[in-house]
Symmetry: C2
Subunit: 387 residues, 2 copies
Amino acid sequence: MTMKDFDFATSGRILFGRGKLDVLSEVIKYYGKKALVIKGKKFPNADKLLEILHRAGKNIQIFVVPHEPDIDLIEQSIREARKSQCDFVVGFGGGAVGDAGKAVSALLNNPGNLIDYLEVVGKGERLKNPSFPYIAIPTTAGTGSEVTRNAVIRVPKSRVKVSLRHAYLLPSIAIIDPELTLSVPPTVTASTGMDAFTQVIEPYVTKFTNPVVDMFCREGIPLGAKNLLSAYENGAHLEARENMAYVSLLGGLSLANAKLGAVHGFAGPIGGMFNAPHGTICAALLPAVMQVNAEQISKVDGEEKKVNRFKEIAEWITGDKAATIQDGVEWISSLAASLEIPGLSELGISSSDFASIIDKSKRSSSMKGNPVTLSDDQLERILEMSM
Amino acid sequence: MTMKDFDFATSGRILFGRGKLDVLSEVIKYYGKKALVIKGKKFPNADKLLEILHRAGKNIQIFVVPHEPDIDLIEQSIREARKSQCDFVVGFGGGAVGDAGKAVSALLNNPGNLIDYLEVVGKGERLKNPSFPYIAIPTTAGTGSEVTRNAVIRVPKSRVKVSLRHAYLLPSIAIIDPELTLSVPPTVTASTGMDAFTQVIEPYVTKFTNPVVDMFCREGIPLGAKNLLSAYENGAHLEARENMAYVSLLGGLSLANAKLGAVHGFAGPIGGMFNAPHGTICAALLPAVMQVNAEQISKVDGEEKKVNRFKEIAEWITGDKAATIQDGVEWISSLAASLEIPGLSELGISSSDFASIIDKSKRSSSMKGNPVTLSDDQLERILEMSM
């Protein structure tokens, strides 16, 4: 029995279920009059959201997030939000909207500019005051951003992605309604789903495991394996959508409370250097990372427990008690193939970028959680395999 | 696959581990100058707590809770707290202290008197403002009060126990340090431990199961079964203490997010009528409730899934894949015997009280969660068996 030692935090309240968007009318009852709605460019179901707010007698201001948030976009939304005199913020969309919503709610109740609070590129100041009430309503099943404590923001000038990070960024309320993901197109279902799947796998084999997170991973890994392809092949399959929304939530709970690994260690820097969606990058990397990690971990003395966890993952995803680690790795590769995940080369990456990606990845916080320390050669092999 | 539909909330941050009390110095850094410490009558380790607060430059006012909180005691502590001009509250003790701490922190930031906000005996008003920052530090492994959203308060005049209930009652921070439970005497280890054990069992078979809570129960039930007797027999057994502290946390997370069952359905009213510790009452009732529930659930059509959950519990606690439900029930009875749990009669209850207890229990919220609706005769049988 290992010693239990952990730190766990999550959003104030997590509401999950089919049609759960309807409870919004109840949860906003005690908030003020003016809502700032942050949403994606086109999302078919925002009508229902706006109708609920309208019926509840709220005034609405809308801010549209057309792509993954960069610093200019967030600065602009903060300026608009401050002028709006809103009482609370609703983020309705995918990971980009979720991150924007967190940053805006935080800066609505803290002085100064976003850059003052950013790590790496800014002053890295600590947020002084709790965020404005923020209701996160994800419309994809991927990032789990509704229960994480950071907002990822691109800084195009420096070609990096940095985080605004604080427990205050945990949304006040997360409403996860699987019905909202029914119209997500297959390519997005694939990439966001692989992101979610990665986020229940990496924390289970991280160097910094956490017994609460272990529970989420043990639940999320088999559920992701069983449902991702179904959701991709038949977007109207509500049970598969529901289960993937749950996997995404479990992934968010896991990554927010344990470190990740090499997939995210790579995905951060790559996302800063190339303008590709986070989920797509993760999806391209997962099979190779699993392969190389599995090979390496077996060679390290005293890592029997970790090796056993890789074995467990293989059993859960294949549904076969006799599955070997290699069977698990092959299963994931074959899933990625079925999901038609594009390789890194299709995202504009070439082998001349490898040195720079590897250099940045080695310094990322997620890479420190990887179950085994990987050499430059091994990291390069992962990139090559993921092209 | 059942549909997933749930509402989940917990304390702002949960810190767990041996010696974790030390992190208090870090978490209070951003709070104000004045701490109100609510503690039990005698607790050997409060010195360390006070030293940490002192070293952090905080001014300290202490309020002592000598027994399970009744309305006069809480009203008095609220008056003192309001005069104290404190910036935050620390509750350091068992369930009684935990409940008092929640009520005091809530009323520090809400106008009026406690009675205005109490259900049943008071006006049942809704808390308007969030509680003052409240750090819950349990020193027993039982109630899980550090992650629940209600404070149970006795009203001696009406011989009832009522709850102050609101999401605002979730502590800002829970610090669970198993070392603090090392000096808990065996009888208290037994009763609080059985309370914790009950709180991972009842939510697993409740009428209102919740997939997140299921995870906690699946983890907590075998862990409780393996460790409670060890902690009772050898209070210095740190691993057993740690595991029981974890079971208690899991129980709190479970009961706060799913309903309970007949043990708690009885324990509330009995606790109001007789001045006995909550844990002792639960412990006395658990074996008979398991027995009668297990008998009844098998007779109900369409409850195969629930029956299967009883079977799972039996397997987990006995550690035997072939265990029957009856084996599980017998295992719990034998655990209660080994823990020398006193019967209800020793708490001052006689058979002439049964009618009144049954009447009140049937109307309790926990009883509505019991896996099967029990007749008056069946409820009476449970009481008789628990004498």
